[in-house]
């Protein structure tokens, strides 16, 4: 029998506070500043690029529908010049920045030429530090892998395929361990896997004279019955009912045990096929496939809705403090292999978990506390003033103070209930102490608000993109550009999404970062990317009439490419430091917050 504690009994209390926070720097101000900075520097950088771009265009026809290899080549150039979709999505194949790895201030003139003129398949491919290798498998691949392993075990150990599959599942697809263990103590292993002493008889239904089913208590003559090798016999209806319940309702497959109490015998595929309807058998196989992925530590399902693919990645759980294994499924969904959450580079999983928890617990509450309360100058209890005069008496420590100046009430003399005093020592001291205790809260809010802002903006950018698709059609009509030629908007949109995702997490990351030189580099990188992203975001929102301007197109393409580069630099640098920090020095040490 088992003792228990009920888990998740009471969801954490919903935060009652939903007040606008006052601590945030208004995002619009930031946006405008960033945009101005980049726009003012545009003309100088746009000129040479435009020349290259138009040169490329003169080679390629506006509507590249010809099939000669010659034009295809130039089209490729052309596509690369536009930082095509493939370029944006396939980051595993992304090449390293071709210029020296230096940090510069936000002077956009230092910007190296974007993609233009850089050959896509140049041999100078360098693996960026944040890259992890991974492989995406479709359902058929997953099936094939299982079949291969089953066949192998079947051949090596001379065990029939059904039993080999059960054994492999029992050993969580650790083939080596299975073979070794089975050689050593065959009977024990077979018993443990629910196979018992193996008698090679095919499963069959049979009526047994004088049989009474223990489940339905039926004792009809000629009732078909079934038993696995454990000998627990039930009527075929009950068995079928039982299996249907397990497979359909409970989603079990690899470890469905015999219905008898305490019998660990596991139902095999052949027996199941004999007992259930074909569609249930299909479902069973689907679930079996699933357990294969779930059993293997190197495989994980793509969490995107309706996606059936699995991703294989060799990053181990213990390394998650050093790497952020971001993988991209064939369906386009990017997620972290470590924790299955959406792409959260550059922040490591542990930090993400902490941050999300903190946000769920704190953010709104903290906002409210910040806006509506003060701390008692003596005991630091948080106090909300809900009306009445300025004469406060702390309920906890009985300290008497003035709500306005936070000074001792006794010093107020006769100016009761109307604090007009300033610069009394007790008041300034109290305010100083309070300021310190508020700082941690403000610090959190600083990062949280920026984090939340990017999350929000990414959503808005996405909405805008949906409108942009219509815009792209319009743009084609108004400007005479071809479909291919308006794809730059698509590229820009995807860049915005991805960069915002990264930026969002840089703020969570920064919250946990100890202050040192590297933090400053990190923040510079962050600032660079942020300004570029905001600038791009602003251009992206422009009306179609303005977008018709081919100059603006080049500017947007440049900015898109620049954003991508800045993102890579930021991630690469952070990943490198993260890896080093975990192995040797104390580069990024999070302090307990």
């Amino acid at each position: 029998m088992f003792i228990c504690t009920a888990t998740k009994l009471h969801p954490s209390l919903p935060s009652p506070f939903h007040l606008p926070n006052t601590a945030a720097i208004p995002p619009t101000t930031r946006k405008r500043k960033a945009a101005e900075a980049s726009i003012s520097s545009q003309p100088t950088e746009a000129l040479p690029n435009k020349r290259v771009a138009s040169a490329a265009k003169s080679k390629a026809p506006p509507t590249p529908v010809t099939t000669t290899s010659n034009t295809m080549d130039s089209e490729e150039d052309f596509m690369s010049a536009m930082s095509s979709d493939a370029d944006m999505q396939d980051f595993s194949g992304e090449e390293a920045p071709s210029y020296p790895f230096t940090y510069f201030d936000d002077d956009f003139d230092d910007e190296p030429d974007p993609d233009f003129g850089v050959l896509k398949d140049s041999g100078s491919k360098k693996k960026v530090a944040y890259d992890v290798s991974f492989q995406v498998y479709e359902p058929a691949d997953i099936q094939r892998q299982q079949d291969d392993m089953v066949n192998e075990v079947n051949m090596i150990l001379d065990i029939n395929k059904e039993d080999a599959a059960i054994l492999l599942r029992h050993f969580r697809w650790n083939k080596e361990k299975l073979i070794e263990d089975l050689m050593d103590r065959r009977a024990k292993v077979l018993e443990a896997a629910g196979l018992g002493t193996d008698v090679n008889t095919a499963p069959k239904l049979e009526p047994v004279p004088g049989f009474v089913c223990d489940i339905c208590c039926e004792d009809e003559e000629g009732l078909e019955t079934f038993a696995m090798k454990c000998g627990h016999r039930y009527c075929v209806h009950c068995y079928r009912h039982y299996l249907t319940q397990k497979v359909r309702e409970e989603g079990e497959a690899a470890r469905i045990q015999c219905p008898a109490e305490g019998c660990g015998r596991i139902i095999d595929t052949k027996s199941l096929d004999l007992l259930v309807t074909p569609d249930l058998a299909d479902r069973y196989r689907e679930l079996l496939n699933r357990t294969y992925v779930e059993d293997k530590d190197t495989l994980k399902w793509c969490p995107a809705p309706d996606c059936q693919n699995a991703v294989e990645c060799g990053v181990k759980k213990k390394d998650l403090d050093k790497v952020v294994p971001t993988v991209a499924c064939l369906c386009g969904h990017r997620f972290c292999f470590g924790c299955i959450l959406n792409d959260h580079q550059p922040a490591p999983c542990e930090l993400v978990k902490k941050w999300l928890k903190k946000c769920a617990d704190d953010s709104e509450t903290a906002n409210w506390i910040s806006a509506n309360t003060k701390e008692c100058p003596r005991c630091n209890s948080t106090i909300e003033k809900n009306g009445g005069c300025n004469h406060m008496t702390c309920r906890k420590c009985k300290h008497e103070f003035c709500w306005m100046c936070m000074g001792l009430w006794s010093e107020h003399g006769t100016s009761w209930y109307n604090c007009n005093r300033f610069e009394e020592k007790s008041g300034t001291d109290a305010r100083d102490a309070q300021a310190k205790s508020r700082m941690s809260l403000e610090r959190y809010l600083h990062y949280y608000n920026r984090y939340a802002n990017h999350e929000q903006s990414a959503k808005l950018d996405k909405d805008i993109y949906q409108k942009t698709e219509r815009k792209m059609v319009e743009l084609q009509r108004e400007s005479g550009m071809s479909w291919i030629e308006v794809q730059y908007l698509n590229a820009a949109s995807q860049t915005l999404q991805m960069c915002r995702q990264t930026l969002k997490w840089t703020y969570a990351f920064a919250f946990y970062l100890a202050r040192n030189n590297l933090t400053e580099i990190f923040e510079d990188n962050q600032k660079d990317l942020e300004m570029a992203v905001e600038a791009l975001s602003e251009m992206f929102e422009k009306p179609v009439q303005e977008l018709c301007d081919r100059k603006l197109k080049v500017v947007i393409m440049d900015k898109t490419s620049y954003c991508n580069k800045r993102r890579i630099i930021l991630l690469d640098d952070t990943a490198e430091n993260l890896a080093n920090g975990a192995t040797g020095g104390t580069i990024y040490d999070y302090f307990a917050w």
């Binding site: 029998m1 088992f2 003792i3 228990c4 504690t5 998740k8 339905c216 009912h241 008898a260």
Partner: protein, 154 residues
Amino acid sequence: MTSFASKRLAKELSKLKNGLPPGIDLISADNFEEWLMDIRVLDDNPIYRGEVYRLKFRFSPQYPIEPPEVTFIKQSDRPIPTHPHIYSNGIICLDLLGSQGWSPVQNVETVCMSLQSMLTGNSKNERPPGDEEFVRSNRKRPRDIDFYYDDNTV
């Protein structure tokens, strides 16, 4: 209700009417959805001495493939037994009542006997940890509660 569950329950009922183990009594079984049973502890365990407890069984149409929902119910002369697996609202945390521990071979009688022996074997006169909070906030049916079995010594 499918004939499947009714047929099985009808057979169980006729068996129960023919005789029950000591300390277990059938109180009502007017339909095939809800039965009431009384149980008491047979030895003189001081925690449960002289008390009788009432159990409510609720059967789904999937019974006995699915486990029944079994809870203690409180009445003036029927308290909720004190036990580290029994919440004060009568909800029981027992693996054999969950879909993982349940076997369709179990029946009302065997469940009663299991609960009887669970009480007999207990020496801790206490409620589960977090009982008060659970009783106050739980709105779920017992089968939907995600019990976490972390100690099988009791």
